[in-house]
Symmetry: C2
Subunit: 240 residues, 2 copies
């Protein structure tokens, strides 16, 4: 699936039908939403699938995750890939049935991976690029994890990742959690746990205003000053 070209469609189906179709090889991906308010609240497996929830619990060693818990999501996939994206929340990804190949890139690789400004998803087909040793991945540091039933993967916030099932059916539960001070997260609805930090939204708006204030100047003037200001932002990131 490619989120940027939207080469898939969203459908609502009964759970039984989804499971049946995935079993027969359909290219489907189920990502659970809140049973009660699917467009407003984040998914919580204990509310959304109460009869399954008892089978899933995080070990006490992961109390840090449980305390910052934002959402728990049931994922069932047939032979379809999850596109390259990042989440603003950290998460632990628990593989339950089948196996899955995850490719992760550190956050600083974002500049190499065709993420449009402000976008948390990229249209880059990471798996094809890796298999063909494509130059599209030049400068990146891909990490690979093959998850089998019982494996739990910690996915730090902002790490770019894509997933490819290695079996016809893959079932997983992942728990998103906040690991930054809660003030940093943007207010308002965040069903998917990937609403960008408030400081990023505001920073982008401020940057757009800065860009606009130079817009009518000759290109060399714009480049000179905007590059210097951009450099100060990069330096600010290194301070403290």
């Amino acid at each position: 699936m490619d989120f940027t070209s939207k080469n898939f469609s969203y459908v609502t189906e009964s759970f039984g039908s989804v499971m049946e179709r995935v079993r027969s090889g359909a290219r489907l991906y189920l990502r659970s939403l809140s049973h009660e308010k699917p467009s407003e609240m984040p998914a919580q497996i204990e509310d959304d699938f109460p009869s399954l929830a008892a089978d899933f619990s995080l070990p006490p060693e992961l109390d840090y995750v449980t305390k910052g818990k934002f959402s728990s999501v049931l994922r069932v996939s047939g032979r379809v890939n999850m596109w390259l994206h990042y989440d603003v929340m950290a998460n632990v990804y628990s593989q339950i049935v089948g196996s899955k190949r995850m490719i992760l890139f550190p956050p600083s690789d974002v500049k190499h991976l065709s993420f449009a400004p402000g976008a948390s998803s990229s249209g880059l087909d990471v798996f094809t690029a890796l298999d063909t040793r494509s130059s599209l991945l030049a400068g990146t540091r891909p990490h690979e994890a093959i998850l089998h039933p019982g494996d739990l993967l910690f996915l730090p916030a902002l790490w770019l990742h894509a997933a490819e099932p290695k079996t016809d059916m893959s079932v997983a539960v992942n728990v998103f959690f906040r690991d930054l001070d809660s003030n940093y997260y943007a207010g308002g609805r965040d069903v998917y746990g990937n609403k960008d930090l408030e400081a990023y939204d505001k920073g982008r708006q401020a940057a757009a205003r800065i860009g606009k204030s130079f817009q009518q100047m000759p290109k060399e003037t714009r480049r000179f000053y905007l590059a210097r200001i951009a450099d100060e932002l990069l330096q600010a990131a290194e301070e403290g």
Copy 2:
């Protein structure tokens, strides 16, 4: 001379004494200021040296310069170098007595030449660096001009430049002029014609606020978002 380490001192002397001392090899540099209000108004040779002014006029081909004229400056130098800097105004530099070596770099080289954020002067000794083929100049594109009496050099705004006299005494007059829409220049006093554009000052302040909003976050988070915002600024420079 190095403006950043201030390895020189400012003195007030009579014109005759300066000329006498330069003639005897003193390491002096005279940069004229407004006779009437030296700390408030830009220099104008016709007001500051009325008895010399008649000897200097720009040819009609340079009406564009005369129309945007901001300041005309008499410069007399002994064996001292002018440090690397840029001016926000464009200027035409007219060599009258002696000769001078000018090194110019295009504005985009600013990132390689040790200019502190917001500074229009650098402490880099360009002449030593060039003569020793120093790696401090890696990635830069220095241009050299040797000016002899009667030569006139157009120095575009924002081009980084440094000057070295090739004779014991060098006399020049340069005319700063505005070649951007006058709204872009910052208001208030600008004695030297190098007060940065208002958009740069405001942009730097906005960038500082953006940086601050990320300051308490983990370094990886700061780097991720600030680099993305910096990238948007660079993209804005290429638009239109």
